[in-house]
Symmetry: C2
Subunit: 141 residues, 2 copies
DNA sequence: TTTTTTATCAGTAATCATTCCTATTAACGC
DNA sequence: GCGTTAATAGGAATGATTACTGATAAAAAA
């Protein structure tokens, strides 16, 4: 069937629209912050009290695959998710208050993007995170 | 006591020289690769058969704190360690064969390093990882 | 050297994030 | 509405890492 525009995952299954999935996407779209699976689970439970943590994880995986959200794994080994409506960016992570600020500047847009040629490497995704102290925490010290 | 050069951790405890710790550092120095805690555990067991996985984790933490090794957490959520003798660098990770190549070019050395001023942020550490296909795997496809 | 101190150890239990499993439920096409 | 099957709830299982405890062995003191 040409002209078939139904969303599908990598395994070819049609992606249905469910209340649970929509609720997860709503949370990430409205809050525009970097939430862990557990935080999303707690937030979604307000409107979907019977949702399970497994459902949250499965939907985060599907939404990431569809490109609707970004998945980031930080130094603490925990994955955090955010809406993809904001566009590609990187992160400034405060090691004191854990606040995460977005950084629109991207290393790949600079000369470093040429590394592909010199290293015979085909880049698909990249992550750039800076850890340090945000302005608020610097002034508290 | 001024001139006290005994290595100490952040909590002020003196760091002793033990066979177990030395063996872990030896592995990372000689192999010059990016090993997980489990891989290090298996390698160290050859010379220290009675070592425990807990000891490996504790020493990796101490050695990281002392600056003798680097700790990196990749997208799979698993931490990998490498000797610090090689100096600061970043990573090209092949999503097919999992091979990790080092990249000496650093975004912070470029204009992006100026983000500190514009974002009122004091950078201490940073990570830059590129995921894609290495030369070998590209030619296999 | 002997004794004392205490950082480190082995072994194991506990924790945390995440994935897997199974019977049941509910989107969506017809 | 009916049938197909993706998605769900609930919970068990996994894997990486951390925490606990009594024993051990470096370094310091005597």
């Amino acid at each position: 069937m040409p002209g078939d525009h139904k969303p599908k995952t990598a395994n070819g299954k049609i992606v249905r629209s469910t209340k649970q999935r929509q609720a997860i996407l709503d949370i990430l779209t409205k809050q525009q912050s970097h939430l862990s699976a557990e935080e999303i689970y707690q937030a979604v439970k307000i409107t979907q009290p019977r949702i399970s943590l497994g459902t949250v994880y499965r939907n985060l995986e599907i939404l990431t695959e569809l490109g609707s959200i970004y998945r980031n794994s930080f130094a603490d080994g925990k994955a955090r998710y955010e809406s993809a409506t904001i566009g590609h960016h990187h992160h400034l992570v405060c090691i004191n208050c854990q606040d995460i600020e977005n950084l629109t500047a991207c290393p790949m847009a600079q000369d470093i993007g040429n590394l592909a040629q010199s290293h015979d490497f085909e880049p698909l995704e990249h992550y750039f995170e800076v850890y340090g102290y945000c302005g608020k925490c610097r002034r508290k010290d």
